[in-house]
Subunit: 195 residues, 2 copies
C-alpha cells in the first residue's frame, strides 16, 4: 500500500465515530467504486467546502447568498431567538420542528480552563439584534453541563434589565427514561420542578 | 440546512459502517474544522482519486508508476502467487507479513446468480505469468464461502496438468475460538483435517 493511501486512512480514522478498521473499509469501498461513489463523494465534499459560509447574522454554517436560510425565512418569527452552542445543536432543534424563531450561535461556551471568555458569546451583537427586531424572548438552549449552565446564567445576567425575557430549556426525566437508571441530579431536578 | 449539505450527509451515510447519525457528526466535524481537517481531507482524497491505478500485472489497486509496489519489490519471491478476491483481502494478508510472494487479484468470484463467469478470474493472464516466472505454487486465499470455494476449485482444476502446485488456505478453528460457539461445519472440517 502506498503511503498516501495510508495517510488518507489515518485522516479518515480520526473522524468522529471511526477507527482504523472502519477507515480502511471506507477507503476500499471508495477505491472499488471509483466512478459511482468516490467521484460523486469528492465532488460533493469539494462543493460544500467551497460554498459553505458562516451567516453574518446568526453565525449558522450553511450554503447561502447573503444570510442563512433560517435568517432569510420570512415565515419564521423574528421575536424569539434561540441561543445554541453549535451547528449540531441547531440541526437537532430543527429536526424536532418545534421552534420557528431565529438562532444565535455561540463560538463556544465560557471556560476558564480553555481560556474562553465572554467574547465567544458575541452578546453585543445579540443585544443589537434584540433592539432592532423588538425581540421578546431569548431561549437559552445549552447543554445541561457545568459549562453550559454557567454560560446560560451569564447570558441571563447580561440581559437583566433589558426589555427581553430569557428562558431556559426544562430539565427533567428524558422521555423513555426509567427512574431507577437516572442519575440523582436529574431526579432531584425533576422533583423540584414537578407540576 | 442547505440541500447540498443534506445530499453530502446522505452520500457519507451510505459508506460501509456509517449511518445518518454518524454521517451528520462527520460533516459537522468537517465544517467546524475547515482548515485543520476538512481541507487536508479533501486534498488527500483528491490526490488518491487522481493517482490510484490498477496494477497491469496483478490488478492490485495502488499508487505507482509502472507496476504496484508489491510487483516491483525485488526482495519478494516471484515463485509463489497468492490469489485473492479483493484489495481488502490483499491488505489483510500483507498486515500479517507472513507472505512474501506476489498476488493475483480476481475481478470477483464465480457467481451464476450475479452472472459472473470465468472471465472475472483472468486465469489466462495468471497462467502466462506462471510460465514466464517459473511459478511453483499458487496459494488460493479465498473466503470459506460457497462462492469462494467453488471459485477456488475452478482455479485448481484450471491448473491441473500445468507445472504449478495449487494450495488452499487451511480451514479449522480460528485462534481464540471456543469450541461450543463454533458452527458444525467448521468443527467437522477441523476434525477431519486434524494432525
Amino acid at each position: 500500500m502506498h503511503s498516501d493511501i495510508e495517510v488518507l486512512i489515518q485522516k479518515i480514522s480520526r473522524l468522529p465515530g471511526l477507527g482504523p478498521r472502519s477507515a480502511r473499509r471506507i477507503v476500499i469501498h471508495l477505491l472499488k467504486n471509483r466512478e459511482q461513489i468516490f467521484e460523486p463523494m469528492l465532488m460533493g465534499m469539494k462543493n460544500i467546502y467551497e460554498s459553505v459560509k458562516v451567516c453574518p447574522v446568526c453565525s449558522n454554517v450553511d450554503v447561502f447568498e447573503d444570510v442563512c436560510s433560517i435568517c432569510a425565512d420570512a415565515k419564521r418569527s423574528r421575536e424569539v431567538i434561540c441561543v445554541v452552542e453549535s451547528v449540531s445543536d441547531l440541526w437537532a432543534i430543527e429536526r424536532t420542528s418545534c421552534f420557528r424563531g431565529q438562532y444565535h450561535l455561540l463560538k463556544g461556551l465560557l471556560s476558564s480552563i480553555e481560556g474562553r471568555g465572554p467574547e465567544v458569546l458575541m452578546l453585543e451583537k445579540l443585544s443589537e439584534r434584540c433592539r432592532q427586531n423588538q425581540v421578546k424572548e431569548i431561549v437559552i438552549a445549552l447543554s445541561a453541563t457545568v459549562e453550559g449552565q454557567t454560560t446560560g446564567h451569564y447570558i441571563r445576567n447580561f440581559f437583566r434589565g433589558e426589555d427581553v425575557k430569557t428562558t431556559f430549556l426544562a430539565h427533567g426525566i428524558p422521555i423513555g427514561g426509567e427512574l431507577d437508571y437516572l442519575d440523582e441530579g436529574t431526579l432531584l431536578t425533576a422533583f423540584s420542578a414537578r407540576g
